[in-house]
């Protein structure tokens, strides 16, 4: 049960509502987000919801039977649209393209990618500076200095930045240089990181776990929301399977199902989803048609020389063609 409180509710009214909720036998979690003030009440007893709904200070009340509550579409019917500033939004009514290299490699590379994005009117650039790597001996990214360069060049060109955060202590040092924090598949159930991002004032793109269920993804988003941050995007990036012909199984089934279960935007990452450059465009286009709110993909001016993930990275020519085709596909979908 979600109880939305009136803005600026007096303390004694809130205490009274809390008391009533507890008397029914529910446990209430107070949630103050950037937008509103809620009580999320957890319990199983049957009772007449109007008992609470009519209390002074209650703005709205809903039953939500799922394990996740605040991100459920049963409670909030209208889709969430996330504003990144300067007219850049993610969510319904818009198709978001996020592109860039796997790893930020240096000034020249950033400038070339930014120029490519500007030319194609793409507003969000991806690029990792902290890289999770299976082997401790692999390249782990340029770190905070790389991020500062990344940020400077993007700001000069009106480009927003999405980049991965790997641990709590990085949030503070990164926050001024980032427009969207990305949580990678390996951290999708790093609950301390999710808690901390819930307290940060920046949007979060949350990737599905390596073999994550939709239920887990939604509950991970609930961690962020219930800690105060409503600006969350979910990302399907392929799941692990037995098939050896490609890196992952891009599970596009997740797209329409997530869109129905939650009001949060859903983004697809076809680069990791199939892991082979020749097929990324097909899967990106399929994602548009499946109902995604956006696509995030890897591009580099010389993929074969990229520091990481070159085998799944498009060159600029392929990238440009794909961007145009996705926009046409999105326009067709919107016309249906």
């Amino acid at each position: 049960m979600i109880i939305q409180l009136q803005q600026g509710i007096p303390a004694e009214l809130k205490e009274n509502i809390l008391k009533q909720v507890q008397e029914i036998g529910y446990k209430a979690n107070e949630v103050v987000t950037q937008q509103a003030h809620y009580l999320v009440a957890i319990g199983k007893k049957e009772f007449d919801i109007r008992q609470i709904g009519q209390l002074p200070g209650v703005a709205d009340i809903h039953r939500v039977s799922e394990e996740y509550k605040l991100i459920s579409r049963r409670w909030r019917v209208n889709p969430t649209v996330i504003d990144l500033g300067d007219g850049v939004t993610v969510g319904e009514g818009n198709f978001s393209i996020m592109a860039g290299p796997c790893s930020i490699e240096g000034e020249e590379q950033i400038e070339k990618v930014v120029a490519h994005l500007v030319e194609n009117n793409v507003k969000i650039m991806r690029g990792g500076v902290f890289k999770p790597r299976s082997s401790p001996y692999a390249f782990r990214g340029l770190g905070i200095d790389g991020l500062k360069t990344f940020h400077r060049i993007c700001r000069e060109n009106g480009i927003k930045i999405i980049t991965e955060v790997m641990q709590v202590s990085q949030i503070e040092e990164m926050i001024d240089y980032v427009d969207v924090f990305q949580v990678g598949a390996r951290n999708s159930q790093n609950f301390n990181l999710l808690d901390a991002l819930g307290e940060a004032q920046k949007p979060v793109l949350l990737k599905r776990g390596i073999s994550g269920t939709l239920e887990e993804l939604l509950q991970a988003a609930e961690y962020i929301f219930s800690n105060g941050n409503e600006k969350i995007m979910l990302c399907e990036r392929g799941i692990r399977g037995y098939e050896k012909a490609y890196r992952n199984i891009l599970d596009l089934n997740a797209v329409p199902v997530l869109k129905e279960k939650t009001h949060l935007p859903v983004i697809v990452d076809p680069s990791h989803g199939i892991g082979l450059r020749d097929y990324v465009a097909s899967m990106a286009l399929a994602s548009v048609m499946a109902g995604a709110d956006g696509v995030i993909f890897e591009t580099h001016y010389t993929p074969e020389k990229a520091f990481s993930d070159g085998q799944q990275t498009l060159n600029f020519q392929e990238s440009e063609r794909l961007i145009k085709q996705m926009r046409q596909a999105y326009a067709l979908r919107e016309s249906f």
Copy 2:
């Protein structure tokens, strides 16, 4: 190595080629299909392919390193187009829609579905008369009598029939009433059935196994081809996974990858691929964009009363809308 022989090659020339192949240390499999005459030579030794290529009676020769040979695109670059008669073809240059109920239930149902297909200019109807069921106590289909009724009504209306065959002994009794034999996921490695279908003079739609790899699917097709039948379509229908939010994982990655590996047409079954009616259309549209040559889906005039699979079956209104949208999506894809 595939050696295509000249049509009507004299016996002594063929014997000579065979002898030469064996002398190199290869084992030759003679394959006579409806279209041509081949030797598929299996072995690992390195040698100059021209040694064989220059022999009298050899029309063409190719090395194919994959485990599957005759269905490989390395050998036959041009996509296979399968002619079902009356101007109905499956494969490149055309988007095939196959629709109908899970199970054939009787005359009235067939007539209603046929009318719906005719109205929407769909030329191929699906419907099972022999049903593989997990439980021995479940409805197993109307059998051969149901097929005869199915056939009569379709013939009167210019509709082609695709229906599942479950065992070798059914081929003969079914063949006059069927336009495409479907091999179900559970029989995708029933090698005796594949052998027998290779000798039948009817196209085959071969579904990927419950957890089948692409490699297995391609080798299963090779069974059919190497027994003489070149008219094969492959079908992605979802694979088994851990996710409980839907019946299967529709693996659209398979579509562009299969299209690159083989010259055979690739069809997608979104109904089984996601298993939930509300999401079938999204996945069908995604399939078109991923590059499928066709889609096979379930429709029924009252899905909630269908004998089987009602939960994933579209009603006629949903079906009609989807058919129109798929055609628009295909037109857009072809324009790229």
Copy 3:
């Protein structure tokens, strides 16, 4: 609901019971097995079971809520013991060892393996004469002639034979030379084959599918039982997964769970379950401890020269050591 009828029940009594069952709204399947005569009634309505239980001609009656009925332990509490003749039994109170090559290769090979088994007091030999192979160009077994040789040598030495049957038409030609029919993983849902084996008078070892669920395995066994054959063993042989370090994931969880759900014996195949010779013994011993009624494994006098599966086949020295250790482990388990 399972209604066991009295032996030799008069027709009119049976008809009366059938009528009563139908009046309640249940559908009755008559099952006559080698041992008894049952009605398996399928339906959902609540009613007092004594209504049927008290009818003349009813020997016993049980509700069984699972999808599988006759093989359920809720109905038959005592474990099934299968008699292969000459004092060889499979099931509770005995640990069955079945060993031999993947493929039967010829007289010399059979004789050597038989001698090895006799020396170690192993009573059942495995060996394929019809081999399901992913590729149509691979060795497919010696066929019926190989089976006759296999049978002759085994009979002379008091050894029982278990070998794979791949299609309905083989049952008749094989039945005189076989002690246990094996149904392979790829045919675990070949329902026509299961139906036909239900009518055969020979025990069946049924392997779990490549990615089969326990529920599917149990229902497959129900096919055989409900067609008249009560002599069924279930076999865990590894399932398909993402792990590349071994061929399959041997799912030993299945052993105690199957033992609780069904009265049928449970056998484990560690050779296919891990697929790597060095680890087969560890997994065989683990299987014993998990509660298996027997183990089936591959052995050959020169594994590296075996026609198939050499990489997972033990040599005779390894086989002998394993047999002794398994017997000790079984003795310990029985002492608990």
Copy 4:
């Protein structure tokens, strides 16, 4: 390539070795652990290893082709034995039993479990105080205060503590109260946590990821080792799969394979591995036979009232019986 340096190597000798390694074209990672001083050199060029091996200051040198190096058995043949103090060791020559509740719930519960362990001569108690939970509204453990109570009671009774650490900042506050840090499945690729544990002076038990590969598990261990901590145990705890009859698939194949690939001890968690109380003992015994160095399982005096995981927790009677049986099974295994 691993270059073990002589203890107390002079700086100029080390610099010389580093220089030579770089000249060959390799990148050297300096690793100083609690026990020794290494250079791990990464590169692909072929060269004569004696070139480096003969340099002054080199104690030993080995090529290791795997992605993981320091934990490989190709380099260190003898199994690692981890000393927890007071005569408690984990690894070869000993079978370690770790038991206790899922969550630490309070003083009374700790005392009862400790008494049960003392009575059965079990030296290591498990119990979570920081709990990773899918839902943000679920019980997350008693935290550091719970750990202090846990520690006090265990110390009084000679029991060692293993408990989960979830983030870097917890290491410092926990380290004085912990004997073994556990890294849970969800954190198995939380590389910052692994790095930090590499610098801690406490043994680590590292669980395989939810769908982790053995390769990933081994590389995660390499993170810890290469940061200085050699005291690592690996833990198989079940992987995610499609089967719905149990919580996870306990992958015992991993046990003999890991034992062959690494010198680190391998522990099995049958409680999470099957997730159903009735079957935990069977799987624990199978783990012993598969070659595990120890088992970690859940026990509670009233499992049905446990705060978490009650459905997979043994009561003390079941626990006692299992402990005795495991010791007998281990004795048998050692006799082989």
